[in-house]
């Protein structure tokens, strides 16, 4: 046993010396390899944590939301529609929801005004999200003004600032009373932004949504499952920028694999020839090449994953921030909870370490099975 370990250690010693003879090339391979793993793992950690948090948080979202669509566009829904909806068997309650967006030209930021369902807000006061508080330097007791559609500047006292930890869902939220919002938004009386339904049995949600569509053909029901599925799909590997990053990373690996599989340099072939000539077995050469591949790919994998973890969960994905912020002036400052999907880490391991190690061994096996004399020539 000890002899076998000592043999492997001698092989590793030799492999590392061989790698150090071409340190420029090998260190650049290690650097690029680590970078590719880092990029892939960062995207993986970021999307997986967001998906999980969305799932946990949005399970409390409204069960069914009914919007009205006219000429293929969103339109305010008459509150009277609620009576027809309440008559559907299985519907427990129908509530109007008032909310909308507000563009602040001074700070070039978009806010979301919302009349809360359960948190009462006094008339003349508002509660603001931590993102707005940070952007506008507005705190409890301050007065914020917004322009209503009739051009009148309306002022509200900040009653409270929503907690910093809620930024992932409420950074841009302004909670306001029903009366104030009707005046500020200009939503006509008897209308609401949408209607929220609660149902007795959650298994009936899809059936009730179908009934709503039949009773009110101009309506668009949105069910909670769809809301949650939205985030599953958006941060899926097949979606948007994820597929672009994945393609770039896979292409880099194809180039890596191509470089390794198309053959060894004359120097490397010569080295194998000399080793064979001095008595090395083919299996020894393959073992040496295995250690060479493993040393580079294992180091790159572990370093890449660790750096990605620090990047996503300690620096709040600092490198992705310019892309995520886009044109937003107001961007939530949130720190993701490290929900790591073990299956994804294992997949990443098999996608990166195994192919590289194999592509290191195959050309070496071809060179090692040829007569040493012809390899050295």
């Amino acid at each position: 046993m000890l002899q076998s370990i000592e043999r492997q250690r001698h092989l590793i010693d030799f492999t590392l010396s061989s790698l150090m003879r071409r340190k420029g090339k090998n260190f650049s391979v290690l650097f690029v390899y680590t970078l590719v793993v880092f990029l892939l793992a960062s995207v993986m950690f970021f999307t997986s944590a967001l998906r999980k948090e969305a799932h946990l948080v949005l399970t409390n979202a409204p069960e069914i939301i009914v919007q009205r669509s006219l000429s293929g566009r969103f339109s305010f829904i008459p509150v009277d529609y609620g009576k027809k909806l309440a008559d559907i068997r299985g519907v427990v309650s129908v509530r109007e929801r008032l909310w909308g967006y507000y563009y602040d030209p001074e700070f070039k930021a978009n806010y979301t005004f919302m009349v809360p369902e359960k948190l009462p807000v006094e008339q003349g006061t508002i509660a603001i999200g931590a993102g707005i508080s940070n952007t506008r330097h507005a705190y409890e007791g301050d007065i914020l003004s917004f322009t209503s559609p009739d051009g009148v500047l309306r002022s509200y006292t900040v009653k409270s600032v929503l907690s910093e930890e809620s930024q992932l869902v409420a950074a841009d939220i302004i909670l306001i009373s029903t009366e104030d919002y009707r005046v500020l938004s200009g939503i006509p009386p008897g209308h609401a932004t949408d209607l929220v339904l609660t149902v007795r049995n959650s298994k009936e949600i899809a059936t009730i949504a179908e009934k709503i569509k039949k009773i009110l053909p101009d309506s668009r029901p949105i069910i909670r499952d769809e809301i949650i599925r939205t985030y599953d799909a958006v941060f899926n590997w097949r979606s948007g920028i994820m597929i672009v990053i994945l393609c770039v990373a896979l292409l880099s690996f194809v180039i890596f694999a191509w470089d390794r599989a198309t053959g060894l340099s004359a120097e490397e072939k010569g080295e194998i020839g000399i080793l064979k000539a001095v008595g090395w077995e083919t299996s020894d050469v393959l073992l040496m090449k295995f250690w060479e591949g493993a040393a580079i790919s294992l180091t790159a994998f572990l370093a890449g994953v660790l750096l990605a973890y620090v990047h996503v969960f300690f620096t709040s994905s600092a490198l992705f921030l310019p892309v995520l912020k886009g044109w937003s002036t107001l961007y939530p400052d949130f720190r993701l909870v490290p929900f790591i999907d073990v299956n994804q880490v294992i997949t990443l391991f098999f996608l990166t370490v195994v192919p590289y190690t194999i592509t290191t061994i195959v050309p070496a096996w071809r060179a090692a099975t040829i007569d040493p004399d012809s390899v050295m020539r």
């Binding site: 409390n60 409204p62 669509s69 993102g131 949105i222 044109w327 937003s328 909870v337």
Partner: protein, 105 residues
Amino acid sequence: MKPSRKSTFFLCSLAALVLLFAVMCVHARVRQAAEMAGIGRMAAMVREVGLTDLCLFTEASYTRNPSQTDLQTPFQEHPVSLEHFPSGSLMPPPEHQKDNHAAIH
């Protein structure tokens, strides 16, 4: 003195990386447990206020509330106008919207 072997350095480095990887997994578990209360408070706010989406992109209404938007909004005025907010490429339309689109055409 016997010079240290390269394999010793390599195996120690690899062991250190594996150890850090294990620390990372433990850290993730510990933080998950510690942050569950905060997530619970966020979920309570979602219920109390009646929220539907994560606040990830505030630049456009259809990326601020992707689950609530329609297929027309990204194209603003008419179907062949270009969708121009960068977050639109990060946040593609939700599946249920694409289903509706398929049903329309």
